[in-house]
């Protein structure tokens, strides 16, 4: 997610909400090869460029190192919470080789199981040659895509808000809003084939957009900080869905549990590769949404406005833009995107509303947006990485009994390190860069 993302927008100026625009703005980013080939004063060959990028720790290099560091720490955590490893280490001095070998074995088997669950399992290929199902080969990739779908959509909801200088922690609440309306249309309304699913998806967008618009409107009117409002709305929506599922309108007939009726067949997102693989049209929807957001950001007036508002509110106001109106518009679109994530889950994989339908998508969306540096392409790549970690960790738990939560730990660590480039540089002894060149995401307080 390095070069192509920087692409048409040039170096530092296009980054979302720089903390120190005075120092950072206008400086070409020496790390990105496209911009650097033309502008960088240092070195001329591609090789030199690359070397500089690595030594200085460009954003791409920092991202890769952050992922590596997180995986190593995750591996240590896996190894040193395993009873067999701890037992081996209690005999460290009598057989030191065994202690290290056991630690390596446990961590390696965990990660290889994760890989088999997320990318490809070699056994399924050999099985296919002996008359097994070919679909099984692609099942891990399908699972990765399925896991990534809501993360892409919700991640875009957070990323787009970032670009306008808003921190949208409310993807959870917007997700619930979307899932509720999409789900209700899905099981309670009867429509012809195709039309039904389209209406349900649009309903999902609207459901999320209402929640998002409320946040934007409140901020525009009263100055209420969006971070507080979105956090609180998350819980309001969580209790709202819990309450609604207690009512007969939303409850499946005769069910003792708070669960809605199943979505009708006409309203489900069609499978893309046969009924045995869970991958569905929601993934295409997510990719289309990412393309649409990229287009919105770089090719439309609204996109220009929101980037300007995000970079400098006062400048935007002086230029005749209305930050307040932009906030409302942006939060409406962001809410809609998160609502689509809700629709993709209810219409694509879950098919019924439950009190836990929102899972951790809304919070993961924040980490996805940060890892993707608030760019649509970056968000897609980050969501695929997180989707593969989530899909892989399920297989890992089945094979090695290591809890799936390790994926959450690794994801949090990745973002922790990605958010702190100077820390990663210190760990790997990379050269320090000039101040302000990191383009930190959004550094502001309550009063900003």
């Amino acid at each position: 997610m390095s070069e192509q993302d920087v692409g048409p927008e040039g170096g530092g100026t296009a980054r979302p909400a720089q903390s120190q625009p005075a120092e950072g703005a206008g400086e070409p980013d020496p790390a990105s090869a496209t911009a650097a080939e033309v502008l960088s004063p240092r070195g001329s060959g591609v090789g030199t460029q690359l070397l500089n990028a690595v030594l200085e720790g460009s954003s791409a290099v920092v991202t890769i190192l952050a992922i590596l560091l997180a995986i190593v720490i995750g591996g240590l955590l896996i190894a040193f919470t395993s009873p067999t490893v701890l037992h081996a280490w209690s005999h460290l001095f009598s057989s030191p080789g065994n202690a290290f070998a056991k630690a390596w074995d446990v961590a390696a088997s965990a990660y290889s199981a994760m890989f088999e669950g997320a990318i490809v399992n070699p056994h399924t290929i050999t099985a296919a040659f002996h008359g097994g199902s070919t679909a099984a080969i692609f099942n891990p990739l399908s699972e990765t895509a399925v896991n990534a779908t809501p993360l892409i959509l919700a991640g875009l909801a957070v990323a787009l808000a970032f670009r306008a200088g808003l921190f949208n922690i409310g993807a959870t609440g917007q997700f619930i809003g979307g899932a509720m309306i999409a789900g209700w249309i899905g099981y309670a309304v009867h429509l012809p084939m195709i039309i039904h699913v389209v209406v349900a998806v649009i309903g999902g967008f609207v459901g999320g957009a209402i929640v998002g618009a409320f946040v934007g409107d409140l901020k525009a009117r009263t100055g209420a900080h969006e971070v507080i409002v979105t956090i609180m709305l998350n819980y309001v929506m969580e209790f709202l869905i819990l309450f609604l599922l207690g009512l007969t309108v939303f409850r499946a007939a005769g069910s003792p549990n708070p669960i809605s009726p199943t979505v009708l067949n006409n309203a489900t997102l069609p499978h893309l590769a046969g009924v045995n693989l869970r991958i569905n049209a929601g993934f295409l929807l997510a990719l289309a949404a990412a393309a649409a957001v990229a287009w919105l950001l770089s090719r439309t007036t609204l996109g220009f406005e929101l980037r300007t508002v995000g970079a400098n509110q006062n400048a935007a106001r002086a230029a005749g833009m209305s930050p307040e109106r932009t906030w409302v518009k942006v939060m409406t679109i962001c809410g809609g995107l998160a609502g689509l994530a809700g629709a993709s889950v209810i219409l694509g994989t879950d098919f019924a509303l439950t009190p836990q339908i929102y899972g951790t998508y809304g919070i993961d969306a924040i980490t996805v947006a940060l890892l993707g540096r608030a760019k649509p392409g970056g968000v897609v790549l980050a969501a695929l990485l997180y989707g593969s970690l989530n899909a892989g960790s399920v297989t890992m738990q089945a094979q090695t009994q290591i809890p799936v939560d390790i994926a959450t730990v690794i994801q949090a660590l990745i973002v922790l390190f990605v958010a702190a480039p100077p820390f990663v540089r210190e760990v790997f002894h990379l050269r320090a860069r000039r101040a302000g060149s990191d383009g930190q995401l959004l550094a502001k307080g309550w009063s900003a």
Partner: protein, 421 residues
């Protein structure tokens, strides 16, 4: 600050007073037309716990007239609030009176014609539910007054609960568990401090990430270690209540305020210490200077970064105690994600209380009360769904940030990293 944004702020201020007044009037209308109209018969409150030395007679009041009276009072006060310019103290008194009136009317309505409401145990569970909220909110005050936004309260509570339960269970010492719980909260605070102060990561982002980290880490360790070794690692004892000799025997107030575990008394001490520390000592003046204008503070020789490190870590230690109260205060085991959003309620309480320890404590008590109502009112057959009662703190906070709390309330430098120039 440009002229345009100043104009904007004045508009906000004017709107705010009217909005709050309108909300008060609306609360009064709810008192009358919901609570009053739908109350039938008497509301009975019992004040005596089984086994208490002094027996207090039950209080039976006619619910509807009380609701009407309180509603009328709220409407009068609300209209005054919207129309007349008050100074700070009457403003607070009015807000307090309207809130109290609403709570009383609500209780009358929810109990009218039903089985008696055990007032003392309702307040006891309010206090119990408030402990982590108050300590979390104080953690927020300490951090944010020095200029570091602390969203990671949730993670600090969770880690405190986890460490408290595991250590108390493994070593069989509750005090050790309490200490470790506190240290675990402090440890997360160290991460928060190092990454925001040294590496200047955005503080809101980092808080969210640390919460995810704490949730993942404790969830992982829970499944990996606590489930298989339940009896050894996750079966701590709980602190037994300590009755304060004389005060504990006062009817009604005694059992509520002076007959609880060590956590409640530590909370009293923490509220007093943080309030006095921040507003009555030189130490607090310096902390607030760092939070408002770090450059000026630096100029007069206050060590800005050190102040921030110290306050963030102190806050983490407090929140860790709050976390420990969740696991070894009453429940007696750690459960996955057992803080369940209480850190965010604590954050809300701090904002509701305008970044002051006393205000935050008041708000936390109010939120604790709504949690306790959700638990207790279900047992007496109250018609209101508990989901709405649990939703109340969050709705109240949205109303508060839109109405009560202005933009200017947060410390000026809150959330901004300090670079020595």
């Amino acid at each position: 600050m440009t002229a345009i944004s100043l104009v904007g702020q004045q508009r906000f201020a004017f709107d705010r007073q009217r909005v709050i007044g309108t909300i008060f009037v609306m609360l009064g209308l709810v008192d009358i037309f919901v609570f009053g109209v739908y109350s039938q018969g008497d509301a009975v409150f019992t004040f005596t716990l089984t086994g208490a030395a002094v027996s207090v007679p039950n209080l039976a009041i006619a619910a509807a007239p009380v609701c009407y009276g309180l509603g009328a009072l709220s409407i009068v006060l609300g209209s005054l609030y919207a129309g007349v310019k008050f100074t700070k103290l009457p403003q607070r008194l009015v807000a307090g009176a309207v809130t109290l009136g609403f709570v009383v009317a609500f209780l009358c309505w929810s109990d009218a014609g039903r089985i008696p409401l055990p007032f003392v145990s309702l307040m006891q569970s309010t206090m119990l539910a408030s402990i982590p909220l108050v300590l979390g909110a104080l953690s927020g005050c300490l951090c944010e007054r020095s200029g570091v936004i602390n969203i990671a309260i949730e993670g600090q509570l969770l880690l405190g609960a986890f460490a408290g339960a595991v250590i108390a269970s493994a070593f069989g010492s509750l005090w050790l568990g309490l200490l470790t719980g506190s240290l675990a909260g402090g440890l997360l605070a160290v991460l928060l401090a190092v990454f925001t102060i040294r590496y200047m990561v955005d503080q809101i982002i980092l808080g969210v990430v640390l919460n995810v980290f704490a949730s993942g880490l404790t969830g992982y360790l829970y499944d990996q270690a606590l489930v298989p070794y339940q009896t050894r690692l996750n079966s701590p004892a709980t602190f037994t209540p300590i009755k304060i000799p004389v005060l504990g025997d006062i009817p009604i107030l005694g059992p509520i305020f002076f007959d609880s575990t060590i956590f409640l008394y530590m909370t009293y001490a923490a509220v007093a210490l943080v309030h006095i520390g921040l507003f009555k000592t030189r130490w607090g003046l310096r902390v607030r200077a760092v939070g408002e204008h770090p450059t000026a503070a630096d100029t007069v020789g206050i060590r800005v970064l050190w102040t921030r490190y110290r306050n963030v870590i102190l806050g983490g230690l407090l929140a860790g105690i709050g976390g420990a109260s969740l696991s070894i205060g009453s429940v007696g085991s750690f459960g996955k994600d057992m803080s369940s959003g209480q850190g965010y309620i604590a954050l809300a309480a701090m904002i509701f209380g305008r970044w002051t320890p006393l205000g935050a404590t008041g708000a936390a008590l109010l939120f604790g009360f709504s949690v306790a109502c959700a638990n207790v009112l279900g047992t007496i057959g109250c018609p209101i769904p508990s989901d709405f009662l649990l939703m109340l703190p969050y709705v109240a906070t949205i109303v508060a940030v839109a109405g009560f709390v202005g933009k200017s309330q947060a410390p000026k430098a809150d959330g901004k990293p300090y670079v020595k120039s």
